[in-house]
């Protein structure tokens, strides 16, 4: 049992479990202590110095973000001196920050800007001194402007600890301190996997998604182009946050929205997910029953994970599913199957993916296989935040839009397809179909509770036809090491494989926690977003990918069979080891 400590905040008695920080405890008395560097999702960095509070009886002020409440503490969260110091610190930070908010991607959605407004800072107390550090636009996914960086340390923490990528780091010290890959090289030459978790956690405009809204607006305006669009499962559960709605599934309004923005056809990546399952489950069945290639089979629909594997875990290439990610599948089919069927010149088709992800921006040019249609299969990727901005730019009253349907040919998805957006979702969808493929029978109980939830590594056993199928699910790239190490050890010692099937998502929570999703994500929010997807699944009449009539039609009319020649050519890819550092 955890001990409870008793203290006073602004004279009000509080009781909190031992170890609770003052910042957390203050919420009990309806106090939100201002802070800049602390992200609710991350451990305290204690770098900004704004959250100081006074402890009665001591001369010092302590940081609320990292100081645990102690028995008998008398905490004062604000008085004129505290407020003056906080204001001074904010002004100091501003003196080292380009105050061109109006031209910043984070304008109106910036934590520093918000604090500046809260503290009523209207003039410049200290002369501005900007560092001279070049911007880094090298990745095509994430834009880095170290001059805007306030050195809160969130991105570095996320990149090094949560993601274990170690692309970003601090260089130098004092006023020269900056964020950069090892030794001032560019991100594209570093191990960066473009997951965008840094951007999602950045409080200012220092790291943002590459803004492709301009490209998309231009394409929509271009009479020569036939603009089509698809949206990922996770987007529907988070776009509402742009308007203050949390955990609401906006699928049908989004379809309407995308049409109003000018897209000629609206597809759903969840349908692509259904196809992925057909291919991946077949691949699994083949590996399991015919031992064509080694087990475990590891999922490959997350491009950051793929990049991570190609850089850090090349020994796992043979275990990777060769199946492309769902949006790439929709992409290639839109410029082949759809184009043929509706007699549209595929060269005119401009395919846009709305994704929760920054990595997808990089994925669309990842290898020659991403041009399987003969054209670049996906022309542009927008992440959720960019779509939110486009809605505002277009002045659309999103919440009051009518509900519409997707274009049925690449839009009708099963319940299995939509849960792809959450950690464990791919696994669950795959198991549903794999069970059918292996046994020829449908599952009675379709929900696999044991693969759901936010535990960083989930290991479980599923019985299919008397066979015990061992599976593992990891999300957040640092969690994957444990799973891979187990596989590696088994390979090394020639013992029984620990798992048959492994799902990995780079971002914590899976795509619902993606790097392109609305800011200030917490586990609480991840759960709510995932819940919206799971209830979508529950409400669906069809909850198996292989039962989706449009999937059946697609294979009958066009692809043939899963893992068939055409499927292989259009829907599969290959992996090659990549150097960690190109410089």
């Amino acid at each position: 049992m955890t001990k409870v400590v008793q203290a006073q905040i602004n004279g009000i008695l509080i009781r909190v479990p031992e170890g609770t920080t003052i910042l957390e405890a203050a919420k009990q008395v309806q106090i939100k202590i201002p802070v800049l560097c602390k992200h609710p999702d991350l451990p305290p960095e204690a770098s900004c110095g704004i959250c100081i509070v006074r402890i009665k009886g001591t001369n010092k002020m302590l940081r609320a973000c990292c100081t645990p409440v102690e028995n008998g503490m008398e905490i004062i969260t604000h008085d004129p001196e505290i407020i003056e110091i906080r204001r001074t610190v904010i002004e100091l930070i501003l003196s080292n920050h380009p105050n061109d908010c109006l031209k910043c991607q984070r304008n109106n959605d910036c934590e520093l800007q918000r604090l500046t407004a809260d503290f009523g800072i209207h003039s410049e107390s200290f002369p501005t001194f900007l560092r001279d550090i070049p911007k880094d636009y090298s990745t095509n996914a994430i834009d880095l402007d170290p001059v805007k960086c306030i050195l809160c340390g969130r991105c570095v923490h996320v990149c090094q600890n949560q993601q274990n990528v170690w692309a970003l780091s601090f260089l130098e010290r004092g006023m020269q301190t900056r964020i950069s890959p090892a030794g001032d090289i560019q991100l594209a030459d570093s191990p960066c996997v473009r997951c965008g978790q840094c951007a999602a956690h950045c409080p200012t405009g220092a790291i943002v998604e590459k803004d492709d809204t301009g490209i998309v607006w231009n394409a929509l305006q271009n009479k020569e182009k036939y603009c089509v669009v698809q949206m990922a499962p996770a987007v529907r559960a988070s776009i509402g946050e742009t308007f203050g709605q949390i955990g609401v599934n906006y699928t049908k309004k989004l379809y309407a929205l995308l049409r109003r923005l000018g897209f000629k056809a609206v597809f759903d990546t969840s349908f692509g997910a259904d196809i992925t399952i057909m291919e991946e489950a077949s691949e699994f069945e083949e590996r399991l029953l015919k031992q064509t290639r080694p087990l475990p089979l590891i999922t490959s629909c997350c491009p950051s994970w793929v990049d991570f594997m190609e850089k850090f875990h090349t020994d796992m290439i043979e275990n990777f599913s060769s199946c492309k990610s769902p949006h790439e599948i929709i992409g290639v089919l839109s410029k082949t199957y759809y184009a043929e069927k509706f007699k549209i010149d595929p060269s005119k088709i401009f395919m846009v993916s709305i994704m929760p992800c920054t990595s997808k921006k990089y994925e669309i040019q990842r290898s020659s296989e991403m041009f399987a249609s003969g054209f670049q299969d996906i022309d542009a990727v927008l992440c959720t935040r960019e779509l939110g901005r486009m809605i505002k730019q277009a002045g659309i009253d999103f919440e009051n839009l009518p509900e519409e349907q997707a274009d049925s040919i690449l839009g009708e998805y099963s319940g299995a397809g939509v849960i792809f957006g959450s950690t464990g979702g791919v696994m669950e969808a795959a198991l549903r179909t794999a069970h059918y493929l292996i046994t020829g029978r449908e599952l009675e109980h379709v929900e696999f509770e044991s693969v759901r939830g936010l535990e960083r590594v989930k290991e479980t056993e599923v019985e299919i036809d008397g066979m015990k199928i061992r599976v593992a699910i990891a999300h957040g790239l640092s969690s994957v090491e444990y799973v891979l190490e187990k596989i590696r050890q088994a390979k090394l010692n020639n013992t029984e494989i620990p798992y048959h099937l492994v799902e990995v998502m780079a971002c914590p929570g899976g795509c619902v926690g993606g790097g392109g999703q609305p800011y200030m994500v917490t586990d609480e929010l991840r759960v709510k977003r995932a819940k919206a997807l799971y209830s979508d699944d529950k409400d669906k009449e069809i909850r198996f990918s292989h039962q989706n009539p449009y999937i059946k039609r697609l294979y009958e009319e066009y692809l043939g069979k899963p893992l068939g020649e055409k499927s292989e050519r259009l829907l599969h890819t290959t992996y090659v080891p990549q150097p960690l550092y190109r410089k």
Binding site: A46, S47, I52, N96, G174, M175, Q176
Partner: protein
Amino acid sequence: MVKRIVLIKDTAATGPDTTRDFYNRFLDGIREHKLLDEIMVVRAADLGYYGHGLVVKIMPNNIVYHNVQNTDIERIIKSTIEKNQILDDLILNEKPKQIKVALRNCGLIDPENINDYIAHDGYKALSNVLLEFTPEKVIDELKKSGLRGRGGAGYPTWMKWKACRASRSNPKYIICNADEGDPGAYMDRSILEGDPYSIIEGMMIAAYAVGASKGYFYIRAEYPLAVQRIDEALTKCREVGLLGENILDSKFSFDIDIRLGAGAFVCGEETALMASIEGKRGTPHPRPPYPTGSGLWGQPTVINNVETLANVPYILCYGGDNFAKIGTNSSKGTKVFAVTGKIKNSGLVEVPMGIPLKEIIYDICGGTISGKDVKAVQTGGPSGGVIPNKNLDVLVDYDNLQKMGSIMGSGGMIVMDTDDCMVDIAKFYLGFCVEESCGKCAPCRIGGFQILQILNRITEGKGKIEDLATLKRIAVSMQKASLCGLGQNAPNPVVSTLNYFEEEYKEHIINKRCRAGKCVALLTYTIIQEKCKKCALCFTNCPVKAISGNRETGYKIDQSLCTKCGKCKEVCKFKAVSKE
């Protein structure tokens, strides 16, 4: 056969010949008394007394006479030398000002010879402790001694040890903080180089007391000789089983490794130091958790400064009570200071706590080298403050210095005379802190930088009177909102110089004048026409041709062209160039 040695030195600095003259007269006296075979008279270079006129020291009796006149020679010889009678009016009955505890072996023993250390009671404390003391008793003895950390903050050493001992997690670590980064202080280097074994013994006693099995020396890489001496000492200790398993046949096992710093002042801060040992950037972490509970690699850790550890064997050898007899109520024992700057005899002094600052400056170190007034004494290095001349009678201990707005710090003591500018000094220290800030936390990183910008402006004559308020505002935010001691204390030199020398700041701002003549931009060089001999040396030497005129009319400096390089003053043979 020589029976006595008489040393002679003029300590009044009246002139180089006084000693020689007196020496000759004294020699004559000895000759007259036919004592030449028995008495050796020697002119000393220094006898450690200042401002006492002519000093005569008679050995081996160790009699010291001061303010001796030529007329005293006869009676000194007759009474003292011939009859062993002491002349009460001449005797200097001064107890030695310095007491050497931490430095007890420095300069005395051969640091490369363990036997020499043992000869001076080395490892006596350890063998007592290991064979007869419980760890609790060791901590008790430390408590009795009242020893407080000599690294700066002055935290009671026994409390640190006790907290670490109480932590249940294992292993535990002892770290010797030898990252002496304070510019102008080198006490630790001196002990590391001069008495390495005593620090090792201190660490071992600490380890035994808290239950640690492993120790680290964290030494500045800028001290290669210290590293070498410690390394050799550790090797020797391992060779003779003073490190390793079952030391001195007890159940205690312990070993020590060296880790080098790499040029980061902030690594003197405990949490940053541990990060550095762990192979990371030396950025501090918030406390709590304190190192005694969760330190190096998350394990309970005691970090003690070199001087602290050097005191430990002394305490355990001669008793905590004996140690506690030295010093004041709240600050026991001695403190080593590195007295530098404009001081006559710069060096290390070890004095009992509570000694008047004056005595250190004048009696031990001989006052300023220039003979000018002491303007201020800076203690505590970049984290400390200045003590102005009027407060030189302050009794030096932790609490008094803090009351003065400075700190004890690690023991840097910089003496400044009237040629030193207080704004310039503040700027110097701020520059240091800005360069050494780890950059992690905003108040320290940017606050220090902005203060430095303001000080730069002031010393360049571009200051505004509002700047003083801004300085104070930033200083408060740094003191209160910085994460670690470096940032919290970085504004201290500014705050304390502003406190005592605000008028000097105002002079810089309003009158555009630096009374010490340090701030180059505020200087004006002019040719004093009355003294000028029109030799044209300044004219020909001015690198920017700011001097105009000819041998007939004389010369003038065009202030708009002058870069204040000082060349004209340097070359002028008639002191006809003034600088103000």
